[in-house]
């Protein structure tokens, strides 16, 4: 069974937000600036012209292996499906917003058209047909690489095996599946990444990742 994840070459991002538009179009996401399943985050830093920088980093639900939103949901509306994708069953959601409180990534929002909490689904349905998500397909600078992380021949696996990466809010122990590829230039790394960010290699990271995946794999339901 596939286990979907995404690697992000975020330094390629030009903040065009074509991914946001593609996501809304593909998934019928509610209209409104704050109603996004995916977004481009902006972080500015530096104090002088010599060290100022801007990081654009596309983000979305991290489809955590140990997803706290699934744990706290009182009705089972938030659940895992095949591929380790975290989804919301709109017909079961009471909008208690517990999942929004539990999510470290602010990935969820209330969709008033569905009367439920909504979030990224990794384009579940589309990926079976076209092999990738709408945001990945539309990105002009190829920031996102989507695929089965357990397939040794997949593009995502090859990217992660060839580069150091980090995940967001690692200290929360949710085992997120959005892997940000670290800048290859040492100076850029030092200047633009926070001190708390740990860099990993796939060899070292995969052991913990596989162990955590095994713990919750039995919860994955058929889509």
């Amino acid at each position: 069974m596939a286990n979907y994840a995404m690697a992000l070459e975020y330094q390629n991002c030009i903040d065009c937000r074509a991914c946001e538009v593609a996501c809304k179009d593909e998934n019928g996401v509610m209209i409104g600036a704050d109603k996004q399943r995916i977004w481009v985050g902006v972080v500015e830093g530096g104090k002088t012209l010599a060290d100022m920088f801007v990081n654009f980093y596309p983000s979305q639900c991290n489809h955590c292996v140990d997803a706290p939103c699934v744990t706290v949901c009182p009705t089972g509306a938030s659940h895992f499906v095949e591929g380790g994708i975290v989804k919301v069953d709109y017909d079961m959601c009471i909008i208690c917003k517990g999942c929004m409180e539990a999510c470290p990534y602010e990935a969820r929002f209330v969709d008033e058209t569905r009367h439920a909490v909504d979030k990224c689904t990794f384009c579940d349905g589309r990926i079976q047909e076209f092999g990738t998500t709408a945001c990945s397909a539309t990105c002009p600078t190829k920031v996102r690489t989507f695929g089965d992380i357990e397939d040794e021949n997949s593009d995502i696996r090859k990217r992660l095996e060839g580069r150091e990466f980090f995940v967001l809010k690692e200290n929360e122990d949710t085992m997120p599946k959005l892997f940000y590829l670290a800048p290859e230039d040492e100076n850029v790394r030092k200047r633009t990444l926070g001190e708390g960010i740990k860099l990993h290699t796939w060899d070292e990271f995969s052991k913990k990742y596989e162990a955590e995946t095994a713990k919750r794999r039995e919860e994955w339901k058929e889509a």
Partner: protein
């Protein structure tokens, strides 16, 4: 048996007219609060179900058939969403949850204190226990109305029964309150029943089980908040349930002092009851202050949290302590009730204040605002007027429930 009293199932029901039951001063006050709440609930319903919201698929499917409505909806969503949306994703829980924790924990802790007093055999508690327990459960029900208002689509709640999620703190509320509420009414029943022999036999087991259920309630409430791992104000303190119990006890004492000052002043045992409440209040204030000092839970000092923090400390702790020593107990009760609400606001809003701003490891970020200049380190959005109206209505509901029970069962005048 008194005239105008009918016995049923071991309880004395007062025979009262419609006017006495529904048109007394307390009920009129409760109606006023409820009327305010109804305005809020109406607005809440309108916001959730009365707006035209659209997604991209709606646009495609509409194909011009509802062009005007579509244009209006688009305009509203694109240009005014920040002002009309109910829940910002950075701050999902707000004043409804603050009111829920305030009334429910305050009411439950009052029930806990009464049960504890019964266990310790305090003479005065026998006289007031039925009334105070009824007050506690009425306010707890008002708190539940607040959380029910918070849920955007409560019609799906039946899934909590069909699809149990025992790992979820929020799901645990279902079995908990399915037991807690009926059990509390059973406790009240045995405090008031004419079946004295049976009541005496069951008194101790009932009180002990009641205390156990109360403690379980606070423990589960602690888990509910602590499961929210990224909200470090909530998740980093292992003894959160103790905090809820202590602050809830303080709120409960405040409620009891207000109630006693308004309804029990003509009782010969009023001074004795207030003296006990005063002592309990002083102990509760000291324990809460100690907890806050050790845990540093209320450590948010930036505006607007500084107002809530000092409102809590000065109005809820310091001034009542001074007033207790000056024997101004009614005023102390009012200040405790106000100050502990501020504590609940601080706790709920404070938990949402800072968790999300450092996602990329390099300080505050722009997210959804599309404007880097609008980045704020502290996430806080003051409650909408609609929300304030609703929580006033919830308080009115609690008062109305209590007054109806008091009028019918005369809980304030139970002979013991």
């Amino acid at each position: 048996m008194e005239r105008g009293v009918k016995e049923c199932c071991g309880l004395n029901f007062k025979s009262v007219s419609f006017k006495e039951l529904f048109l007394n001063k307390t009920m009129l006050f409760a109606y006023l609060l409820l009327a305010v709440g109804v305005v809020g609930w109406f607005q809440l319903y309108g916001l959730r179900f009365g707006h035209e919201f659209v997604n991209t698929h709606d646009l495609v499917e509409a194909g011009g058939a509802h062009a005007t409505a579509m244009a209006e909806a688009l305009k509203e969503q694109i240009f005014n969403m920040h002002h009309i949306e109910e829940v910002p994703r950075q701050e999902p829980w707000g004043i409804f949850v603050a009111q829920y924790t305030y009334l429910l924990y305050g009411g439950s802790a009052l029930i806990f204190l009464v049960a504890l007093a019964e266990l310790l055999g305090l003479e005065i508690s026998h006289k007031a226990s039925a009334a105070l327990m009824t007050l506690g459960i009425s306010l707890a029900l008002g708190g539940m109305a607040s959380i029910a208002s918070d849920w955007g689509n409560p019609i799906n709640i039946y899934w909590m029964i069909l699809n149990p999620q025992p790992q979820s703190g929020m799901w645990m509320m279902l079995p908990l309150y399915s037991i807690y509420i009926p059990f509390t009414f059973i406790e009240i029943y045995f405090l008031m029943t004419n079946k004295r022999e049976l009541a005496k036999k069951l008194a101790l087991p009932l009180v002990v089980v009641g205390l156990g259920i109360d403690l379980a309630e606070f423990y589960i409430q602690g888990i509910l908040f602590q499961l929210n791992e990224p909200r470090h104000l909530w998740s980093d303190f292992s003894g959160l349930w103790i905090y809820f119990l202590l602050t809830g006890a303080l709120s409960g004492i405040g409620f009891a002092l207000i109630y006693a000052g308004l309804a029990l002043k003509n009782k010969e045992w009023y001074s004795e009851l207030v003296a006990v409440l005063r002592k309990a209040g002083i102990v509760a204030i000291i324990l809460v202050a100690l907890y806050e000092t050790i845990s540093g839970l209320a450590g948010l000092k930036e505006a607007p949290f500084s107002t809530m923090f000092y409102g809590y400390v000065i109005v809820g702790l310091v001034l009542p302590l001074v007033l207790f020593f000056a024997k101004q107990d009614f005023l102390a009760g009012i200040l405790i009730a106000i100050g502990t609400f501020s504590a609940r606001e601080l706790f709920v809003y404070g938990g949402n204040a800072e968790p999300m701003t450092n996602r990329f490891g390099m300080g505050p970020e722009a997210f959804s605002t599309y404007n880097v200049a609008e980045i704020e380190k502290i996430v806080y959005e003051s409650p909408h007027t609609m929300e304030v109206l609703v929580i006033i209505g919830c308080l009115g509901l609690g008062i109305a429930i209590f007054k109806l029970l008091d009028t019918l069962l005369d809980v304030s005048n139970q002979p013991h």
